[in-house]
């Protein structure tokens, strides 16, 4: 271990702690010990990644202090930018030996703080590993590196008549490795499924540094479904270095309808009627008046005037089926009170319809200085009641809530608006936001449909799961990461002790022995 007196070492010792972290002498002392341990790793990391692949300058480190959830910030102790799987394995091995926590990060677009760095740890950024390695048209598979963007996979597959189905809104920039960690969805997962339905093999570096394959690409490998266990584990079971994804035939036809309703109730009734008719659209999205107002202000999407709700329904599939389904959906919307319906039949028209929806999150910046996005899910049939209750919560608290959501699968994205310059406003918004999650849980839903638990929602996990549930989930964690070094502090509010770790130093940590800190 280094002694922290190495040249340059002192320039890092203001590395940030998690914003909500405890403060105090013991923590600071521990952080300084962590700092020294990280400094001692720098030469080895430089050997592995080369000087360009290791960032130690505080200004550079600070650019990685948060992911897409900017309310949680922590400057990483060290950033490494590997270019190969072998480098990732060497990095993780070095961290495991030194007992330094590490966090993987792709493009940093996550919305739950899943890639929130550790001030006492190493951030492993996969953005230099961005090759689409190979595509097998007939098997409908691609092998890609984790840093490749979601959309780049579909672009590479397009000449073969194929695409990669999961399409999170951030698909232009988000990485497939990040999608694997979060089990990302997207507007079209209603029909096409989530990341976990489209990954058949993973080369991973386990938390002790072993480079190994989970699954073999067939989707039917013998043994436990380690791929299924890994996808959605939010970076806590290892780091994916290669990903085998399923590719899907590009549909023959795609039609997009925009239907405007006077009320949310009417729009919601249309959603239920569409699903009830046996049609499974690729996507059903809904926005309320406040979200529409924001989108108009930001991108002038020119949705029908006077709409209390707009519904975007996209259908894809064989041409004849899609045409008939489109007609049926149109008829249902009219019956449920749609006063204007627009249809897109080509890419340009489709983009015009989607512009408002896709810009909605960013657009609320036009009508509110700050906002919190939630990601709760309710059974689709509970949507009308839950939306009414959200409106009541909003009215009672004076906190405005804009609703943008994946209506087809009951995944709400309420945007809770507040003015961060006003004292107490953030607190009030957080209370409304928490009450919305309580609503989701009480209706048999989930606290997160696609953004993940991360650092942000772990405190809500005990509301959804009992101690036995959380304990059992963490058995999986203990199997992969008994030392608890791989993205620690995410998902679970209370880490489980994994018992004795085979092959790990048995004597107590020097600080414990010296009585400086308690280990647990």
């Amino acid at each position: 271990m280094g002694d922290g007196s190495r040249a340059g070492g002192e320039t890092h010792d203001r590395a940030g702690n998690p914003r909500h972290g405890r403060d105090g002498e013991a923590v600071r002392a521990a952080a300084e010990v962590g700092r020294a341990a990280i400094d001692a790793l720098v030469p080895r990391m430089t050997e592995i990644c080369g000087p360009d692949g290791v960032l130690t300058d505080p200004a550079q480190l600070a650019t990685y202090e948060c992911d897409g959830l900017t309310s949680h910030r922590c400057s990483p102790g060290l950033v490494v930018l590997p270019t190969t799987a072998e480098q990732v394995a060497a990095i993780v091995t070095a961290c495991a030996r030194a007992k330094i926590p590490f966090v993987a990060r792709g493009s940093g677009t996550g919305l739950s703080g899943g890639a929130l760095p550790r001030g006492d740890g190493v951030l492993v950024v996969t953005s230099k590993m961005r090759r689409v390695i190979a595509i097998d048209r007939e098997s409908r598979r691609a092998i890609v590196e984790p840093g490749v963007t979601n959309l780049a996979v579909s672009k590479a597959a397009e000449p073969y008549g194929l695409f990669y189905a999961p399409d999170p809104s951030s698909q232009v920039v988000c990485s497939v490795g990040g999608n694997v960690a979060e089990n990302s969805g997207g507007a079209h997962c209603l029909k096409h499924g989530f990341t976990v339905h489209h990954v058949t093999g993973l080369e991973v570096v386990t938390p002790d540094g072993e480079l190994t394959w989970l699954g073999d690409g067939t989707g039917a490998a013998p043994g436990y479904d380690l791929v299924g266990a890994f996808v959605g584990s939010e970076g806590t079971l290892g780091i994916a270095t290669k990903i085998i994804v399923k590719l899907t035939r590009i549909p023959e036809a795609v039609t997009t309808l925009l239907a405007a309703f006077r009320t949310m109730g009417a729009g919601g009734a249309a959603v239920s009627a569409i699903i009830g008719s046996g049609i499974l659209p690729a996507a059903i999205e809904m926005m309320d008046a406040l979200a529409i107002e924001a989108a108009e202000a930001a991108v002038a999407c020119r949705y029908p005037e006077g709409a209390g709700a707009v519904l975007i329904v996209e259908l894809d599939g064989p041409a004849g089926d899609t045409a008939r389904e489109t007609a049926a959906v149109r008829a249902i919307c009219e019956k449920e009170g749609a006063y204007e319906i627009r249809a897109a039949h080509d890419a340009a028209e489709r983009t015009a319809i989607w512009t408002g929806r896709k810009s909605a999150f960013a657009a609320v910046g036009r009508i509110s200085p700050a906002y919190i996005v939630q990601d709760g899910v309710v059974p689709r049939t509970a949507l009308p009641e839950v939306l009414d209750r959200i409106a009541e919560l909003s009215a009672a608290s004076g906190i405005r809530v804009a609703n943008v959501f994946h209506a087809g699968d009951g995944n709400l994205h309420p945007l809770v608006l507040f003015d961060d310059a006003k004292p107490g406003a953030e607190q009030a918004a957080e209370e409304v936001s928490g009450a919305i999650l309580d609503l989701c849980i009480s209706h048999g839903g989930s606290i997160t449909g696609e953004h993940g638990v991360g650092a942000d929602k772990s405190k809500y996990m005990p509301k959804m799961f009992g101690p036995g549930d959380l304990d059992t989930m963490q058995l999986l964690r203990c199997a992969f990461d008994p030392a608890g070094l791989c993205n620690p502090g995410k998902i679970f509010p209370t880490p489980r002790l994994c018992g004795e770790v085979p092959g790990v130093r048995r004597e107590p940590h020097p600080l414990v022995a010296a009585g400086t800190v308690d280990q647990f």
């Binding site: 499924g193 039917a220 380690l226 064989p318 899910v377 839903g445 799961f465």
Partner: protein, 433 residues
């Protein structure tokens, strides 16, 4: 036998415990007792009692696939789920169902049909006219069994959205829930799907449902050799006609391959796509009902050795040739068939075949699947796998049923965490887990 021989802790835990009898064997291993808990609470008490008594235990549904996997190293207790047979909640408007593990797939299908819905799982047995014999939802999950619809809808792990399990020590745990879109916490349903009872008892599960299609059409044609078969399968699967299944079947060497394509949807769409599919394949006969071999054939063989071969779909012709080469060398003539476009085939060797020949066949097949690595550069070391799902005792003794598996160290670590005393279905799984 008297009830007095049943350990008190077990009798106290469950109202329905009996001495095991003929027919209770698990892959040839005779248990001592059978407990039939009526629900998750009683199941938890049974497992806690088994834990306190140090008993090994094997879960059982209707026993459809109980012979799958290696024989347990020990089996004191069978935990029978057939009394856990309630459909707990069918939220038709949400296209979701929750049910206890002992609910039969046929029983579930009847409930769902009333709302015009289905669970899109059709393991062998369900597509047969009486619909029985497909097994329970717990058993289907535990074995990961799937049929032709896997091409479009995947396997049990893809459709399960929530699961309640009982651990070896009696702890009840759930993951997921009853909404389709949910990423809160680890998805234990994926881990338990295909785990053969080695991690815990599956007590309840929730599934995503789909609308029952209004119409179906089967386009079938013969293919003379592996290359023709591959061309037909690839054309159907790669088409924009959205087939729900693309199956292959050959009952014996020397006979042609039969390729079948299932198209589903509204009547007009199915009619249009059937014409288009027939045109695409260049020939083929059309019927509204499945051919006799559909979802059956090799995969549904009632006895003998059943082998599941998983591969990359583009390798179909090579795999079929490898099967023939290995079979010819071993002097066997297995039936071959399955979900060719999804990269899964079954080979069924008749009951009377010499064990050494079957073992040689499996070994040669694995060598072919393992050689040369993935079809794609940079891929995993194995091209695919050949797992013996079920075999007569002689064959079980002569060959490792599971073959190589990557990630075995992690699998063992998972087993050690979930069942540290190795009391649940010990030795039934990959790598002796």
């Amino acid at each position: 036998m008297t009830a007095g021989s049943i350990p008190g802790a077990l009798a106290q835990a469950c109202a329905d415990v009996s001495e095991a009898g003929p027919g209770d064997e698990v892959a040839g291993v005779a248990p001592r007792f059978v407990a039939r808990p009526a629900g998750v609470t009683e199941a938890a008490a049974v497992l806690a009692a088994a834990s306190s008594l140090g008993m090994t235990a094997v879960p059982r549904g209707s026993g459809t696939r109980l012979a799958w996997g290696s024989p347990p190293a020990s089996c004191d207790l069978v935990i029978d789920t057939l009394r856990m047979n309630r459909v707990l909640e069918h939220a038709a408007g949400d296209l979701v169902v929750r049910a206890q593990a002992g609910v039969g797939l046929d029983q579930l299908a009847a409930v769902l049909a009333e709302a015009g819905q289905r669970l899109a799982l059709d393991p062998p047995g369900l597509t047969h006219p009486d619909g029985a014999g497909a097994g329970t939802i717990g058993g289907v999950l535990a074995t990961g069994a799937a049929g032709p619809l896997r091409l479009r809808y995947g396997t049990p792990r893809d459709l399960a959205i929530g699961i309640t399990v009982v651990r070896a020590d009696g702890t009840v745990a759930k993951s997921g829930g009853k909404v389709v879109k949910n990423v809160a916490g680890y998805d234990l349903g994926k881990l338990f799907a295909g785990s053969y009872g080695t991690l815990g008892l599956i007590a309840e599960a929730a599934f995503r449902l789909h609308p029952q299609p209004a119409a179906a059409s089967f386009v079938t044609l013969d293919a003379a050799d592996p290359d023709e078969a591959r061309a037909a399968v690839a054309a159907a699967a790669g088409s924009p006609l959205a087939p729900s299944a693309v199956e292959l079947d050959r009952p014996a060497r020397g006979e042609p391959f039969r390729v079948g394509v299932l198209l589903e949807g509204d009547a007009a769409g199915v009619a249009e796509r059937t014409v288009a599919m027939t045109g695409l394949l260049g020939s083929g006969s059309v019927a509204p009902d499945p051919p006799a071999w559909w979802g059956g054939g090799a995969a549904a063989a009632a006895d003998g050795t059943l082998i599941r071969i998983a591969f990359w779909a583009a390798e179909l012709a090579g795999v079929l040739r490898a099967v023939d080469a290995a079979a010819a060398a071993a002097g066997l003539d297995p039936a071959v068939g399955g979900s060719a476009a999804a990269g899964v085939l079954y080979a069924a060797v008749a009951e009377g075949a010499p064990a050494s020949a079957v073992a040689q066949f499996v070994t040669d097949l694995r060598a072919a699947m393992g050689s040369g690595g993935s079809p794609l550069a940079g891929g995993p070391p194995q091209r695919g796998s050949a797992v013996v799902l079920r075999a007569p005792a002689g064959v079980r003794a002569a060959v490792d049923l599971w073959g190589p598996a990557s990630g075995l160290r992690l699998m063992r670590a998972i087993k050690d965490q979930f069942d540290p005393e190795h009391r649940l279905a010990p030795g039934r799984f990959t790598g002796g887990i």
